[in-house]
């Protein structure tokens, strides 16, 4: 009898967002997509999570904002963004209908600001979901506090939940003692999915000048250096919640992506890896298809969390 030929299907449903494939551009490195659209196109991306949008424009941090580290980098951009109004008028119209599903990363310094952005995006055409950024370690006044405390996480997620009918992902900070507890709190407050990890807080000192290298002193570590940490946290969160998980942190290959899926992620996002290889999404997609064919998988659901005992 001839071997049965499966046609792999990369489509996944991430928290009610139907994706053509499980590869997303992570919020931040990809900006609002325009530049990469010109450089590589979007055809192999299932989704784009646009750079954090706040209610009012944010200026960002004092330079230097970047530093390379062994197998990774530190960034302290400070969520520089033109604000909700500019996003809706300038950026979103250029992205709409470009192919991948669009998710908007929502940032704020207060619950009211998060709620303001979420309600401003309600009913807007072309937006597939929200990713609530409660974890960016770069903004002294906000972000961090919500994501490091399960109670504060619950408060902000519940407040945004009341304002939006869009699928709501909550992006967790890795800079916590018990990531599972924060994830549970987000789920109980009405999140439809969890994305993780954001960057790991770190710093470097410029010994020639005897001072911190980054203008902001602290920055967020990303890239392959953080991948095992991210994978461990995805594993822990997938154990604690029933909602789907979007895994990210140092992914630079299809094998990395498969590890996140086997740890329990429904989909994956790439960020820092794009700086090394702008065509990374296409390479990962090709690698996933190859693996699925080799393993006779019809869809990735067959291996989601398969490494778990």
């Amino acid at each position: 009898m001839a071997e049965k030929i499966f046609e792999p299907d990369l489509r996944v449903d991430l928290a009610g967002i139907a994706l053509e494939n499980p590869i997303l551009a992570a919020s931040g490195p990809f900006g609002y997509g325009h530049e990469y659209r010109e450089l590589t196109g979007f055809k192999d991306l299932g989704g784009i999570i646009v750079k954090g949008v706040s209610l009012e424009p944010w200026a960002g941090n004092t330079p230097p904002r970047l530093a390379e580290t062994p197998s990774g980098m530190l960034n302290a951009i400070g969520l520089q963004n033109p604000g909700l109004e500019s996003f809706l008028e300038e950026d979103l119209p250029r992205l709409r209908g470009s192919g991948p599903r669009l998710l908007v990363n929502v940032v704020g310094c207060t619950v009211e600001e998060y709620v303001g952005v979420a309600s401003g995006l309600e009913g807007v055409e072309g937006i597939g979901g929200l990713e609530l950024n409660i974890s960016c370690p770069n903004v002294k006044a906000g972000g961090m506090a919500f994501g490091t405390d399960p109670v504060a996480t619950g408060l902000v997620v519940a407040a945004v939940r009341r304002e939006t009918t869009l699928p709501l992902l909550v992006k967790l900070s890795p800079n916590v003692a018990d990531i599972g507890a924060v994830a549970r709190s987000a789920e109980e407050a009405g999140a439809d999915g969890i994305s993780l990890i954001n960057t790991i807080s770190g710093m470097l000192i410029d010994t020639a000048h005897k001072k911190p290298l980054l203008g902001n002193i602290f920055g967020g570590l990303s890239g392959p250096a953080v991948m095992p940490v991210a994978l461990r946290m995805v594993w822990q969160v997938a154990e604690k919640v029933k909602i789907p998980v979007l895994g990210m942190g140092g992914i630079t290959s299809a094998d990395d992506a498969l590890q996140f899926i086997m740890a329990g992620a429904r989909a994956v996002a790439v960020g820092t890896g794009l700086f090394y290889e702008p065509h990374l999404p296409s390479q990962i997609k090709a690698g996933l298809l190859e693996y699925m064919k080799k393993e006779g998988l019809r869809n990735l659901g067959e291996i989601e969390g398969i490494a778990r005992p």
Binding site: G31, P63, P64, T272, F275, Y276
Partner: protein, 211 residues
Amino acid sequence: MPPGQSNMLPRPFSVYKADTLSGEISLLIEIKGKGTALLAETAPGVSLKLLGSLGRGFPDLPPQSLLVAGGAGIAPLAFLAASTAAPRTLLYCARSADLLVCSGADLELPGLSVVEATDDGSRGVKGTAADLLSNRIKGSGAVFACGPRPMLAAVKEICSRAKIETWFSLEERMACGIGACVGCAVATTGGYRLVCRDGPVFPAEEVILDG
């Protein structure tokens, strides 16, 4: 080097020379860290990934322009100097002779006068870029400068007093190189702008050098 080993980020460089007939470009790279050291060790024939050209370059050079280069800042200015045959002067400065790395032949261009200076007097005039510039600023068409920030600050002050149009080519650490990641921000009178997309060349009057 494959991802996951050490260096992740691309490095930004100015074009030093370009041959439009052969399609060849030359870069002048100062070894400052691991990335540039790796590039310097790269054997002939090895393929490297290159993205470019990116951003905005210098405007056209008016006659009697002054080009002020500090150390490795010579790279974009040598390229600029080769773009015209109009009379122009290059002030090529560094701390000491060993840092004046640009070869003489590359600077032998029609209409170009070259004045070299070193802080320690080991080559050319003993003095700084500011010293050279102060003596020559009067009557110059425009000033184009690239080099360390303290040098640029001195150039800016002299040019602003003399009311001469001045342009800087700036450097910052970059990640994407195309304007998406907002990492290579530089403070300007119009807020943060990006060296990769809005620059690297900026009107000097707009740049806040200590920002």
